[in-house]
Symmetry: C2
């Protein structure tokens, strides 16, 4: 990589760490706004509340502190990216962190995605989206190790790493690929540094008071992880993570993978046709592609960003024209990082298919 590019990369990485480090300050600012709104109510309105608002505020502060305690574990190895100044009173002060709102909300959604991938409460959601994939892998490759050589499975958009981990646990050579440092930092921590089950209590739902049935839902404590990844992985397992943009990394790896699994990934493309092409080329002849997900194109409505939005009908035709044979096609309902919110249900009718790259290709 060239120096300029390396500098840019380093700057980007630092800005993500800054967003994590800023979590407490950002959250307390929001809580202060909520407190101000309550304080501005007339006395007679305040008297109508079943519980004084000050109780809500102090509970929220407690939860933010617990979340921050966990978040600091993720980023503390990168403390040295930030200048610290010793103040006259002896306290250390970190350099000012300038975090755009987009990144504030990404830290918060990382907390919610931890529920999906690494909590007991996420089991139901994982059963909806990961289990069909793992079952399909078991069906396609009943023996993931053949004569000391392993079937290799790539999971682009591996997020917090649970699916990639489960694939390794089945005995496959499993590689995750992820572009977002929010995900990479958090998945690295979960996969390599979490010591024991239910080690960290977090409160991922405190940032949203809409559609709440009972106030206790907002404060719900989630214990992560539900399993200790390092304990449960067989000693000879083969699990790796690669940082970087999918097309950039894998367009150079021709005929290299036995299987590629895309789960809630295809719609992260600027150009979905290019994704399909890279998948096809990266597979060995006879290799398989398992896809599970919606078509919620991430770059639709993103100003001037390139975005090619195909319907499933068009997507499927492109898959065929590129050379795949679709061997299985169904629709499965699934949720994504759902808040287990009883008043709001968002679910996707996901496309679940297996496509084969012909042996003679």
């Amino acid at each position: 990589m060239e120096d300029v590019q390396l500098d840019e990369e380093q700057k980007h990485f630092k800005s993500i760490c800054a967003a994590f480090f800023n979590y407490q300050v950002d959250s307390l600012r929001d809580i202060a706004r909520m407190e101000k709104n309550f304080r501005s109510l007339k006395e007679k309105h305040l008297d109508l509340l079943p519980v004084p608002y000050t109780e809500r505020i102090s509970k929220l502060i407690d939860c933010v502190n617990k979340n921050f305690f966990f978040i600091v574990h993720i980023v503390h190895p990168h403390n040295d990216l930030f200048k610290c100044t010793k103040m006259p009173d002896g306290k250390l002060q970190i350099e000012a962190l300038d975090v755009p709102y987009k990144n504030v909300s990404k830290v918060r959604s990382t907390l919610r995605q931890l529920v999906r991938d690494w909590s007991k409460e996420g089991q139901e959601e994982r059963n909806m989206c990961y289990k069909p994939i793992l079952d399909e892998l078991n069906r396609l490759y009943p023996h993931p190790c053949v004569n000391d050589s392993r079937i290799s499975v790539l999971t682009p958009g591996s997020g917090l790493g649970r699916l990639t981990y489960e694939i390794a646990k089945l005995g496959f050579k499993s590689q995750g690929n992820e572009f977002s440092y929010f995900m990479l930092l958090a998945s690295d921590f979960m996969l390599n540094k979490a010591d024991h089950i239910e080690q960290y209590p977090i409160h991922p739902f405190i940032h949203d008071f809409t559609n709440v049935l009972n106030t206790s839902e907002v404060f719900k404590e989630i214990l992560i992880p539900d399993i200790c990844p390092s304990d449960e992985l067989p000693p000879d397992s083969d699990l790796s993570m690669v940082a970087g943009e999918f097309v950039e990394v894998y367009s150079k790896q021709v005929a290299s993978w036995d299987c590629i699994v895309t789960c809630f990934f295809m719609d992260t493309a600027n150009n979905i046709i290019e994704y399909i092409e890279v998948i096809y080329n990266a597979l060995v002849p006879g290799g398989t592609w398992i896809n599970f997900g919606p078509l919620l194109y991430h770059y639709a409505d993103m100003g001037d960003a390139m975005s090619i939005e195909l319907s499933w009908e068009e997507f499927k035709e492109v898959v065929r024209r590129i050379g795949f044979i679709i061997s299985k096609e169904q629709f499965n309902e699934s949720v994504y990082a759902s808040d287990v919110n009883p008043m709001l249900k968002i679910s996707y009718n996901c496309i679940f298919f297996t496509a084969v790259k012909p042996l003679d290709s």
Copy 2:
């Protein structure tokens, strides 16, 4: 109203009309962006598309033109708000319209809400949210006219007017109240100016290509209205609409209404406690409040806007402390302006309750 306030009001009204008039230009700009994205694809990618992209583009332009034809009917009485210049070639050119993105998207969502309120396709959605309310009104007031005097029903947040209209059709004195000129202009048109059934073909789904199963869904034609409002209303019916902010208009109307119906309305409050209080005061002793809706507080996350977000548990307690007796409480699943999109389902578990203001209050 003071002159300054009147000026502000007039300016605001003009900006909403501008958003409607700008619909075609805004939409064509988006289509041009889509075209540019497709055009930037490599030849080999373009060849993989089942249908040339130019076909999608020209279909979209057709649909935009049809939508604009309808939209112009809504706002043409307000043409004179805008300066027109005769160009050297004899064509008229309207003054430059500066429309913020928020308003661009409100015009588009008005199109989708027309499906909810005034199309055959919206019947299922109306059965979910309006029917339980109308059934409850029939149960509470089996005789909406008593000795020449009608039971009066107010629907704040009346939107495109269908619920207010259906209540009038049952024989009640029915008044809608709405703050948004987008809604007021469109509901006025539907209630008073639509001449016959299925008069206007519109294409409300063309602005979103995410989670599309078959391309034809995007281009789906909807015919509005499903009924001719003026034909079906009995000649002695009593239906009115009042423009303005709910608290501002109705806090002065003490003990004036027999029944208040709030449907997807309570969470539009900056201060939900104030809404409850105004409803209580505006009802006659013995009057009833029927509520149906989620708690998707509109002002949550709206920067520095005042927002008091209560859970249902807290909301209910405030309702009681203000003096209401809750006579019925249930949860009903409902959607809101759903796109009949087969790949994405968003549904609300709505609170459906009836509360009574005691006779001796």
